[in-house]
């Protein structure tokens, strides 16, 4: 099922105490796996939380501190970016709902510590997209250049408009109106997400409700075609679940919510792979209930084989000879489940052509 040897990074996240017995050579590998996965800074915070940071040898600690310095500066810059976006939103009288990494940071979730963001993601009602775009334009954000095909692709089929870039700060904002493309088979009703959003500061800063944050993370990861950040996203889920599940009755809320939002399968995957790979503590009954949403035993085994490879840290020491194939299959699958065939086939052909002629990167 899984690749033959569990990566050091995975073992260390499951049980941080193993670091006490590592050689410097093993530390070197651990740092590289963590850096490549984008969780080196986070790993430092986990060690700190477990009172293990003083046990880290200097040679490795320098690299952890380096990653944390970088991540902390990104986080500080993010608070400024959030303020600038809030200023742009003032006249709209619209809640500013943040998604993904930005949400973890503004809500002070543990999964936000040490996490590096490249874009800010927000969720707005579809019928107010034009106003939001206009307000952002007015405050210095401009649509990044996309050709006519991509414009149509975004605006007609996707759940977000093309990314916008600020002309002075060169920061990027992704404006979503849903968490899945309009054309996808299980696209949820985004007004349900917005209605349930929670305010996290005196200023106009909102995030999805805890159970929705987990479901969105699951939806995003298990519809994703590219797994460069797959392991980090899995780790996000692990930390979010650990943080939120202490609340009484949270598991029932989570399961119920997945049904309301049509995201039973992504949640099944999320709980299956966080427990399988990171040993996230999920009650047996919850896992059994989720399994009912995915009754096909053979298909379950195939997906286990694929995801247990694709979700490993993106480092050569965490791969086997099938990892590349598994990622490729899931890439095709991600487009399949997001788009109807009449759009998928020409879209894949176009992407393939652009990559072959080096107009687009892998």
């Amino acid at each position: 099922m899984a690749i033959t040897q569990t990566p050091l990074l995975v073992l260390a996240l499951i049980n941080p105490e193993i670091i006490l017995d590592l050689t410097l050579q093993q530390w070197d590998l651990l740092v590289r796996q963590a850096r490549r996965s984008g969780v080196l800074a986070r790993f430092g915070y986990i060690l700190k939380r477990n009172d293990l940071i003083d046990k880290v040898p200097q040679q490795a600690l320098k690299h952890i501190n380096s990653a944390q310095t970088y991540a902390e500066q990104i986080a500080i810059s993010l608070t400024w970016e959030v303020e600038c976006i809030q200023k742009a939103f003032v006249k709209l009288e619209l809640p500013l709902v943040f998604l993904k990494g930005t949400a973890y940071a503004v809500a002070n979730n543990f999964s936000g510590a040490g996490r590096v963001f490249s874009d800010v993601d927000i969720l707005v009602p579809e019928n107010r997209i034009a106003e939001v775009e206009s307000a952002l334009n007015f405050s210095g954000w401009k649509a990044s250049f996309v050709d006519a095909y991509d414009q149509r692709f975004y605006r007609e089929w996707m759940h977000e408009i093309p990314p916008m870039q600020h002309i002075q700060r060169h920061t990027s904002i992704d404006v979503h109106h849903n968490i899945l493309p309009k054309i996808s088979r299980y696209c949820p009703d985004s007004s349900l997400l917005l209605l349930n959003a929670v305010k996290v500061s005196e200023q106009n800063s909102w995030v999805l409700a805890p159970e929705d944050r987990v479901i969105h993370s699951a939806t995003h990861l298990f519809h994703e075609g590219e797994f460069d950040h797959g392991f980090r996203d899995l780790s996000d889920l692990d930390l979010l679940i650990k943080e939120f599940s202490t609340e009484e009755g949270w598991w029932d809320k989570l399961l119920q919510r997945a049904i309301e939002l049509n995201q039973q399968v992504p949640l099944y995957y999320a709980l299956r792979y966080t427990t399988l790979i990171l040993k996230t503590p999920v009650p047996r009954e919850v896992l059994d209930d989720c399994k009912l949403w995915y009754p096909n035993g053979i298909q379950r085994k195939i997906m286990d084989w694929l995801f247990c490879r694709a979700l490993m840290p993106n480092h050569s020491s965490c791969e086997d000879s099938w990892t590349g194939f598994a990622r490729w299959v899931l890439y095709i699958r991600s487009h399949w489940i997001k788009m109807p065939v009449r759009i998928l086939a020409p879209h894949l052909c176009r992407k393939g052509w652009l990559r072959l002629t080096e107009q687009e990167d892998y």
């Binding site: 500066q73 500080i76 810059s77 608070t79 400024w80 303020e83 700060r169």
Partner: protein, 91 residues
């Protein structure tokens, strides 16, 4: 009330005054007036009128209007560049 963002740092280097904001990542020159403004705000959150009064003691050869305008411009610049902010508490 005017406040200084956490992490903002400013100092004299040689004959020049410089300031840095980790929020906007800007490193800027300060006039002596702006430097003193930041010093007052750093000591305690302060209102515009209090700040004006403090400046008047030092820059007593300026007219009230001139000083007010200079202060307003300085505050606007420092706010828009991520050094200070206005909070809603009134004391």
């Amino acid at each position: 009330m005017l406040n200084i963002y956490q992490g903002v740092t400013f100092r004299k280097v040689g004959e020049d005054y410089l300031a840095y904001s980790p929020l906007s990542s800007e490193t800027i020159y300060l006039t002596f007036f702006a430097y003193q403004t930041l010093e007052y705000i750093m000591a305690n959150p302060i209102s515009f009128s209090e700040l004006s009064k403090k400046h008047q003691l030092y820059f007593d050869d300026f007219l009230d209007d001139e000083l007010s305008t200079m202060l307003a411009t300085t505050i606007r610049q420092l706010s828009s560049r991520g050094f200070i902010y206005t909070s809603s508490n009134s004391i």
